[in-house]
């Protein structure tokens, strides 16, 4: 049973808001029993949250009436101060207004030159220990985030505005070759990474997984081209990608490449 907790520390030294399993690493908290092979259905216990229990720092509902830290920003309810290791919130866009397309926060004129590659990009990692174990090996080392960025649309068509940004879509690069393009059921074209953008070709580009955990993109002679960090690609020529690179295509599609979340030890 989950008991309200305060100041709990898991066997790996993380402050945990949960008394059964650590809310950072998932390790069992002292006293948590091992799993049974067929867990018996347990009665429901619930946690309700009310307006009164929202985090004063980020507005996230408090996980539990006596939870010490905010689940999202780690605000310390007891000390009434920002909590220990900062975890950066990936801004999730609010529910879209039905008609007005959401303007992007900053408005770089396209082609938007993204910052040059080196240096860890946006998703701030909580205190990385240099000696930490390597990233989980294998299939899901890279991911791409697809976003609608209305500011990329140089010639907005008032009758067909960019749809409201309903949030980023994330795809792991988990196949040797993944097609990015516009879905077309009539022609049986179903890209692994479907993009909703009239300026994107049905077969627009491939993401390729290269040896040694590297990743590249190749434009498949698309009608309107592809740019990486603002510079256009030559169709058919492979371009290796680095963490944080920004690929733009079509009227409003922005794709960010990320190495998947490393682990705070």
């Amino acid at each position: 049973m989950t008991q309200p907790t305060a100041g709990l520390v898991c066997p790996n030294g993380h402050p945990s808001e949960e008394s059964d399993y650590c809310s950072v690493c998932g390790a069992p908290m002292p006293g948590t029993a091992a799993p049974a092979p067929a867990p018996a259905p347990a009665p429901i216990a619930t946690t309700a949250t009310t307006d009164a229990q929202k985090c004063p720092s980020c507005g996230t509902p408090r996980a539990d009436a006596t939870a010490r830290f905010c689940e999202v920003c780690r605000y310390d309810y007891e000390a009434q101060a920002p909590g220990p290791p900062p975890v950066v919130i990936e801004a999730a866009p609010p529910t879209p207004a039905p008609s007005a397309p959401t303007p992007a926060p900053s408005a770089p004129a396209p082609p938007a030159p993204a910052p040059p590659t080196p240096g860890p990009p946006t998703p701030a990692q909580p205190s990385l220990e240099p000696s930490a174990a390597p990233v989980p090996t294998g299939r899901t080392e890279w991911e791409v985030t697809i976003a609608i960025d209305a500011t990329l649309d140089v010639e907005p068509d008032p009758d067909a505005p960019a749809p409201p940004d309903v949030g980023d879509r994330i795809f792991p690069i988990d196949l040797p070759e993944m097609l990015v393009g516009r879905r077309d059921d009539a022609h049986h074209i179903r890209p692994e990474i479907p993009v909703i953008d009239p300026g994107v070709s049905r077969r627009h580009a491939h993401f390729l997984r290269l040896p040694e955990g590297r990743v590249a993109i190749v434009d498949l002679a698309s009608a309107n081209g592809t740019a990486v960090n603002g510079s256009g690609l030559v169709a058919g020529q492979r371009r290796e990608l680095a963490d944080g690179d920004v690929v733009t295509m079509g009227r409003w599609t922005r794709i960010t490449i990320r190495r998947r979340g490393q682990v705070p030890q």
């Binding site: 390790a27 069992p28 259905p41 009665p43 429901i44 309700a48 996980a63 294998g138 409201p164 077309d184």
Partner: protein, 437 residues
């Protein structure tokens, strides 16, 4: 019934099914999470706004538009007087035939008159109907928005991109079930609308069937009591969600629809729910392998919704945990949980049907026979009797347990379309010691 409505926080029961034991070095965890809404609606359930979005293009002329008029009239009569409703028609463009109204007697009477005058002409541009519905639903954000969409033809007056874009604009405002009348419409087009708006697409072979379909749809819509319910998955910092799917009542891929709340929490919109409704979800996780004897929580599922008073409610269950426990004992780690196995089978069944039908269409009879034979075998093994019946309209079954079939020489187009549409409808897993689904 004297059962009091449950506290909003007891709105769902959540259970996880899995084998938590992993072999040394293993980094993948699979589980089924089963969610059942409480049997009674929470106090002060939200009002319903039911929108009819009806194709009145030229092809609907004749018995079809007559049957639709009749079916919409029946459906309006069935509405409780506190429900809201509207009627939109579309051909090359959309028209609001009945604006949003409470279903009081005089409003119903006015609506029946307007619906009675429906005529069919012109082309088909489905996105215009959806756009009109969107603008009407947007006026009542507090209501549970449910749409009944009916068409009979191809979306020939606009490009497919228009629909894709409009679906993005509509998502989250309302959910939509779709029906195609006859066999001149495209399964993929109509399915795309239903999927994009968390609904289901179905076939009505003859116009006489429209009324029954609408009756059922009204009953289902009036049963909904919660809207925009989100499935939340917490994972430890070292784990990733590889995939997240609904597997019952139908298979729906939710993975790309994830909304990342923070680095450890993702949410998936599941739409609106009614009392007693049950759905199952399949979650696959990538975890950092532990040492033998290590145990960790790989995911904590919960449901989140906005209660009638506007506060956000998170429903958790202590039994609903997805665990990973590394062991050297192969008898433990090699065991496959029966619920997980059941849905793996239903997934393979859907794929075998879809690929089998595609092979048959391309004239590859050998591949079609093998794949549809495998489908018959899987449907038989899992006790999915409805699917066996549908398959038997497309193939002659020689031996269901061995998967031996012969392709039928002549198959009605309706049977093929129906099989394709229903291929993702699963049989619910038997609960250990519970019902049979």
């Amino acid at each position: 019934m004297t059962t009091p409505p449950p506290d909003a926080a007891e709105a769902f029961a959540i259970e996880a099914f899995q084998n938590p034991y992993l072999a040394p070095g293993s980094d993948r965890v699979d589980a089924i999470v089963s969610v059942t809404a409480a049997g009674t609606a929470p106090a002060a359930a939200r009002p319903l706004l039911l929108g009819f979005v009806i194709d009145n293009s030229g092809s609907m002329h004749g018995p079809r538009i007559d049957a639709v008029r009749h079916a919409v009239e029946t459906a309006i009569r069935l509405l409780d007087d506190h429900a809201g409703f509207f009627v939109v028609t579309f051909n090359g463009s959309a028209r609001v035939v009945v604006p949003p109204n409470r279903a009081a007697e005089d409003a119903k009477r006015r609506a029946l008159t307007a619906v009675h005058e429906l005529v069919a002409n012109d082309g088909t541009a489905m996105s215009t109907g959806l756009a009109a519905a969107r603008s009407l639903f947007a006026r009542s954000p507090e209501a549970i928005g449910q749409c009944i969409f009916l068409t009979d033809g191809k979306n020939e007056s606009e490009s497919a991109t228009e629909v894709e874009l409009e679906l993005r604009r509509c998502a989250g405002l309302f959910t939509c079930d779709c029906w195609g009348v006859g066999t001149s419409w495209q399964v993929g087009e109509v399915q795309e609308i239903a999927r994009g708006l968390l609904g289901k697409a179905s076939l009505i072979p003859e116009p006489e069937g429209i009324e029954a379909a609408f009756r059922e749809a009204v009953a289902k819509a009036q049963a909904k009591s919660m809207k925009s319910v989100r499935f939340r998955v917490w994972t430890p910092a070292s784990a990733e969600v590889i995939s997240f799917k609904q597997v019952s009542p139908t298979i729906e891929e939710f993975t790309p629809r994830a909304r990342q709340v923070n680095p450890q929490v993702r949410e998936y919109d599941t739409g609106s729910w009614g009392p007693g409704e049950a759905r199952d979800y399949q979650v696959a996780l990538h975890v950092k392998p532990g040492a033998v004897g290590d145990q960790m929580l790989a995911a904590r599922p919960s449901l989140v919704f906005t209660g009638p008073d506007g506060t956000e409610v998170e429903v958790r269950a202590p039994g609903a945990r997805v665990l990973a426990s590394w062991t050297a004992d192969e008898t433990l780690s090699s065991r496959l949980d029966s619920t997980v196995a059941h849905y793996n089978g239903q997934d393979e069944l859907a794929a075998a049907i879809q690929q089998g039908l595609e092979a048959r269409e391309q004239g590859n009879e050998a591949a079609a026979t093998t794949l549809l034979g495998r489908a018959v075998q899987l449907a038989h093994e899992s006790g999915n009797a409805d699917m066996t019946t549908r398959l038997a309209k497309v193939v002659d079954v020689v031996d269901p347990s061995a998967g031996t079939v012969l392709l039928k020489k002549s198959v009605s187009k309706a049977a093929t379309m129906d099989l394709e549409l229903e291929s993702t409808t699963t049989r619910r897993a038997r609960r250990p010691g519970g019902d049979g689904g």
